[in-house]
């Protein structure tokens, strides 16, 4: 095999190989989306996070604006302490409400942010004070049964 032919084939091979990796990065993975862009951190305490996982999306009005970075239990208040990384392009008011939501019945659990009307914005490391816990189905059913039982004697 001629030397320049080998060079040509190796060149083609390396080019399409690197092309495949770029395809995986850009088209299959979300290299271009918020997950890798620099962002700032927000913190929130929840009574119950339900099935929230690390790397779960943080959404505002359905648009993914960040990801959950850390979840731990606050040993003093026994609340879940969630740290989120939010894209630099999005600012949230200091009276933003964070809630744990589920997309669909079996869908992924995410953090929903609803901005309020305050003029001050949350800075890096800011804490969202107004939070809404996950809806736990068992508790809902329990409440329902309890209220049913209460009204039966009538």
């Amino acid at each position: 095999m001629n030397r320049s032919t080998i060079d040509l084939w190796v060149g083609i091979f390396v080019t399409i190989g690197i092309g495949a990796i770029i395809f995986l990065a850009l088209k299959v993975g979300n290299l271009t989306s918020v997950s890798t862009s620099p962002g700032y951190h927000l913190e929130a305490n929840f009574d119950n996070i339900g099935g929230l996982k690390l790397r779960a999306p943080v959404k505002a009005a359905g648009v993914t604006v960040g990801r959950v970075e850390a979840i731990r239990l606050d040993p003093k208040t026994y609340q879940a302490h969630v740290t989120m990384r939010v894209d630099n392009g999005y600012q949230f008011t200091s009276d933003t409400i964070a809630s744990i939501l589920t997309s669909g019945l079996l869908g992924e659990v995410y953090v929903g942010l609803d901005a309020g009307g305050d003029t001050r914005m949350l800075a890096d490391g800011g804490r969202i004070t107004k939070t809404q816990s996950a809806v736990v189905l068992e508790k809902l059913i329990g409440q329902f049964l309890f209220s049913k039982a209460a009204e039966t004697p009538k």
């Binding site: 095999m1 030397r3 080998i6 060079d7 084939w9 190796v10 083609i12 091979f13 390396v14 399409i16 190989g17 690197i18 495949a20 990796i21 395809f23 995986l24 990065a25 088209k27 299959v28 993975g29 979300n30 290299l31 989306s33 997950s35 890798t36 929230l52 996982k53 690390l54 790397r55 999306p57 993914t64 979840i71 079996l106």
Partner: protein, 270 residues
Amino acid sequence: MPSAALTGLAVLVRRIGGGTLAAITTVGFATRFFLAVARHSPAAVRRLQLTLREIYFAGVLSLIIILVSGIFVGMVLALQGYEVLNRYGADESLGILVALSLVRELGPVVAGLLFASRAGSAVTAEIGLMKATEQLSAMEMMAVDPMARVVAPRFWGGMIAMPLLAGLFSMLGIFGAYLVGVKLIGIDAGAFWGNMRAAVDFRYDVLNGIIKSVVFGFAVSMIAVFEGYTSQPTAEGVSSATTRTVVASSLTILALDFVLTVFMFRGLGV
């Protein structure tokens, strides 16, 4: 009678001791061999033409088997995945299923197994035959170091080709799944790609898959040149060395894959 038992015991002890010593000696020689390859690696860059030739043999000639297998694995994944996902009404997650399984696991592992049997065995057979026909000794006589002239370029050729082949395998697999899922079954193309992009993370999934394929490329290339270099210089020795390359590489890939997966993908659930 006691003396016979003692002799039997002595034979047993000697056999265990001999086996252990031989195993430890092999580990020592393999380490020395690895260091020699590392020391001669600059030679593989200096004589780029030799390395390019090995990338041609290890990479370009493996393209067909990798591409065809990739497409078929992707198509089968799409059919089987659809069959299960459809029961839960989650057809549109097919893209996620296929992309995650290919990028994280099947791409590096199946491409590695194919690479070991297609390219690794060829490298072992070539070096083994060079040794059997005393070409390696002839090179040493001419003051050409076979480690630099033969082993290092083959090692680096495999090392460079393997991640690229794994990337191509994953890409073609996803393309095959697209053909079956979107074109044949009729899942919405937007949902297929959109859900996939939302669920596959570059650093967490794609980069870890690439790291896996680099590790597998290292393991397969190292085993292939080592088995070739240490093969018995006979026809039988070369054939058994080639077999050992395929078996050892495959087992190493599967074991390493487990270890890497434990380190890379644990701790997602809090």
